[in-house]
Point group: C2
Chain length 166, copies 2
């Protein structure tokens, strides 16, 4: 019998094997902790939170902790150069709100999440779990935020892929 | 003779092949166009340029078009919430300046550029060519900016890697 070490047959080229390997990675294994603010948080306080937590995107939740909106550094910068008092404007005025938020899910592939970041030209996605109604188990359009996926997440995954050679 | 289609021997595992493939990609094949401003550009105009060009980082050049500094959306947001008149402050006051700028080069691997983005916690790298002195061909610490690599670049490369399966 011939030694099999180092030989493998997959019916795929190397390039195809790379693609398949990438598509096996899941959002839940790469997501980082989401930074949440309430709808009545002022733009000024949101900017402070962004610097303190060192993130580029905040997720806004309502009183039930359902995802209500997303605010990016770009949204905050646009507001900051306006002639407003930033302590008087709640983030709910400037946020992108449901249902216009692009979402990702724990079991989605990291590749699909990365594709959404490029397709919709955004910096971050909330990782969500749909909330179930207690009475009839039907899905509502209400989501709990359980993580975040950003271009930093994807850049780190890209670096890791290359380092797996070692 | 056995058909060789689909068989390959590389002495590497699939994971190692992925790593090697990633490290073959060069910055020059992925870089996008840099957005440049002059040192005396006001912070207000820099913010407008950032929105018009839809980028997250501006590169600042001196009167000889040498790279002098880098300004990020985060730098501009920090300045915008200060009690300053943004039209009176030149970007040269708030920029990260040479030699504290992390650089990448056309022939560097995209993987090394991605590693720098993660290691130094920055959003973008200027792609530079060293300028030669005319008289003695010695390198100076002066650089022409020929491109930019951002986390968006890396995210797009990650998406492309996965799509190569098709």
């Amino acid at each position: 019998a011939r030694p099999r070490v180092g030989y493998f047959y997959t019916g795929k080229t190397t390039i195809q094997a790379i693609g398949a390997s990438i598509k096996n990675k899941k959002v839940k294994d790469y997501k980082s902790i989401p930074v949440l603010v309430k709808e009545n948080t002022s733009v000024y306080d949101a900017i402070c939170t962004m610097f303190l937590e060192d993130v580029g995107t905040l997720f806004v939740v309502n009183e039930n902790n359902d995802l209500a909106g997303v605010v990016s550094r770009k949204d905050l910068l646009r507001t900051a150069i306006g002639k407003h008092n930033l302590e008087d404007i709640p983030v709910s005025i400037i946020m992108t709100r449901m249902p216009n938020i692009i979402l990702t899910y724990p079991d989605e592939s990291l590749h699909e999440a990365a594709s959404k970041l490029i397709r919709y030209q955004i910096d971050a996605l909330p990782v969500v779990k749909p909330k179930q109604k207690a009475d009839n188990n039907q899905k509502e359009n209400k989501y709990e935020v359980v993580g975040r996926i950003t271009k930093t997440t994807i850049t780190r995954a890209y670096v890791d892929l290359g380092n797996e050679e070692l």
